[in-house]
Subunit: 414 residues, 2 copies
């Protein structure tokens, strides 16, 4: 099946919000084996909405719209779809009752414009919306299928997951199974080279490499008559893949590296503390983004000034003077100092030049950083030079390398 | 002028990346007074690219494309634009020299497929790309204007800013001037109510309110024959606006609150340290996102465990036992303790429940947090209850409130 995603709303055209609906639907449709041909966006304008609908079916069987289902005059998606399909908009009595109940429950008066939300295309099927007042709907006519969903992601996503996805799955008559294989320490072109004969030789399962921030990953997908067949085909391919790139794989389920690392630490009860200079709290933030992490995370020290490095972590003035704040020695003393004060099982430090280079520090090698890792009685320091002298890139890359070192310490040196 | 943004690339259709190019161009075009009618995205497929181009000019004078200008077989945007405009693709000798120079400088061999990047539509104008090997181009033919830009944002944005924006400005014949007024402590609906008679009564300048993360802002824009006229019209409107909502305004230039706060601290040489529990490094990260901040930022302590709060910040065991880690007393002792050890002019603390609620802590009031601020000999603590029990929302809101308190301390109590 081939599909177009049509997002309706001026906030998108004004650039006020990123089109996360289109991205979400694309990802989910791909998992269902539906090919997304186009993304289109337009405002709540009758002529332009009709123009988009007319072209959305070029090369496509199905269209998914989001937005424009609300109670106001502006909200025109339903009207334009009716117009396109030659459908009448009629009141669905049971929907009117649900709508009234909603307003009663929230104690707000139901203004007459809300009645619009109980009207649907005559031959349409309502898609319930437990998270808002605007239900969605779907119609199929003349070989054209359309699903119309509300705009707010917290209403749209559950409606897609609960109604659209199962419906598409049932229609496809085939089952898709896939694995997202995530790797560490291998670039996209090398990965492609290693797997070239598999990539070139296969039509199903398909195998594709993707480059993401600081890593690349692989998707192995099969579409067969049943889920079991698809799964078996993927598993057979996985056996080949593991032979070729096994040592680089850290997850076959698409997990993030940080999640793999931190889950293991939670499971094994390994406590963690960190101290950061150039990343300035970004590493601690990534750690504490995760709910429940207080079970193992003790503290993070953002020792930005030299004084803070000495006071908080016991880095010696001599080391700072002799080797500088960005040095193997300082990274080591930071991690060791943190180990002493926190007593955490694993202590990690980072110090570097995030840049940018300025007139005041023309000789700083922007992008140079050191990571120190104390674990199981050892303290090792590693040196990195970032490929791009870009502050945000250096910081996020350094955090990635910290998780990489933790991964290796936990999984490869056991 | 009316315009369509056509982004080319399968990464977008797969949902692998968010379409930040379309959002960026939309924002910038709006500033130039160009109306964006459609966003369209398709993959590198000749028939679908042609289909999109054919409809991109519905209701529009101009199209901006991004992506598909690279050296590989897949990259078809240039070819399809030539096809659409009936143009021949020819080699531009000076572009070939620039391209050769690029490869020499980076010491990589120039494969023959790269020659494609020196070929352009016969009547096109090249838009230089100092940040990559694929230049952009523009053509105007039969009243239709097109700008074709590369896909990577770090190449696309400077090309738009340096070539497309000035060209569009010169073409428009009118001048747009606007101010982005940012406010603190007032919701979007109250803001709209305060300004209602100005919003309803005006066609130029236009006045619109927008809700963003944790704040709302106002855009006052005028399009007139000259920049001076437009500026004057906006200034007259601003005088009215200041009378109505003056005390809520923190910037008339669209700056971020954190930038307003930190610029003032940099200017006045006010040193800063922070200690965080529930935000777990997010505040320190926001601070250190800014280059040059080491001039005033001394340290951040992520005191996640109770032990860390005692050891690093001198919070007393009695306080933790009697009032709990999330309390006015703990927030105060955290900030005061940090003040003692760091000696920074301003010290800020935060402690709270970021959630989610679990079986282990069913009675934790998720969303409750306290912020302590020590500045100029005073230490005050403020209590907050977040409207949504959502971990990411609580954390980012708490950081926003920290900057709000700093703003008030710096600007309103001087």
């Amino acid at each position: 099946m081939k599909c177009t995603i049509l997002t309706v709303g001026t906030e998108i055209l004004f650039g006020q919000i990123l089109n996360t609906n289109a991205a979400y639907l694309s990802q989910e449709l791909q998992k269902l084996g539906v090919d997304v041909m186009y993304h289109m966006s337009c405002g709540d304008n009758p002529s332009r909405l009709k123009e988009m609908l007319a072209h959305a079916y070029h090369d496509c069987d199905a269209v998914i719209t989001t937005g424009g289902l609300g109670p106001t005059q502006d909200d025109l998606t339903k009207e334009m779809i009716c117009d396109y399909f030659g459908e009448k908009l009629v009141e669905f009595p049971e929907q009117l009752e649900i709508l009234k109940g909603w307003f009663e429950r929230y104690g707000s008066p139901m203004t007459t414009n809300n009645l619009k939300q109980a009207r649907f295309p005559e031959h349409g099927t309502v898609l319930p919306n437990p998270n808002g007042t605007a239900p969605g709907f779907c119609i199929e006519k003349d070989g054209k299928l359309i699903y119309s969903l509300p705009g707010p992601p917290r209403e749209m996503k559950p409606m897609f997951d609960d109604y659209v996805a199962p419906d598409l799955k049932a229609r496809s008559g085939s089952a898709l199974y896939y694995k997202t294989v995530k790797t560490l320490g291998i670039g996209e072109s090398s990965l492609e080279t290693e797997l070239l004969h598999l990539i070139e030789g296969q039509s199903d399962p398909t195998l594709a490499t993707y480059a993401a921030d600081h890593e690349c990953y692989l998707r192995v997908a099969s579409k067969r008559g049943s889920k079991e067949e698809a799964e078996q085909a993927v598993e057979e391919m996985m056996t080949e893949i593991r032979k070729l790139i096994g040592p680089y794989i850290y997850s076959e389920e698409g997990e993030e590296l940080a999640d793999v690392v931190l889950s293991r630490m939670m499971k094994d009860g390994i406590s963690l503390s960190c101290c950061e200079s150039c990343t300035g709290g970004l590493f601690a933030k990534e750690i504490t983004d995760r709910a429940g992490i207080s079970a193992i995370f003790d503290r993070g020290i953002v020792a930005y000034s030299e004084r803070a490095k000495m006071q908080e972590l016991g880095v010696s003035a001599e080391t700072l003077e002799k080797y500088g704040a960005v040095s193997e020695e300082t990274a080591r003393e930071m991690a060791e100092g943190l180990r002493r004060v926190s007593g955490s099982d694993m202590c990690i430090s980072v110090t570097g030049y995030a840049g940018p280079a300025t007139k005041e520090n023309p000789n700083e090698p922007v992008g140079l950083y050191y990571i120190g890792l104390c674990y199981r009685g050892k303290c090792e320091v590693f040196r990195y030079m970032n490929s791009r002298p870009d502050r945000a890139h250096i910081r996020s890359r350094a955090v990635r390398e910290m998780f990489t070192l933790m991964y290796k310490a936990l999984f490869r040196e056991a």
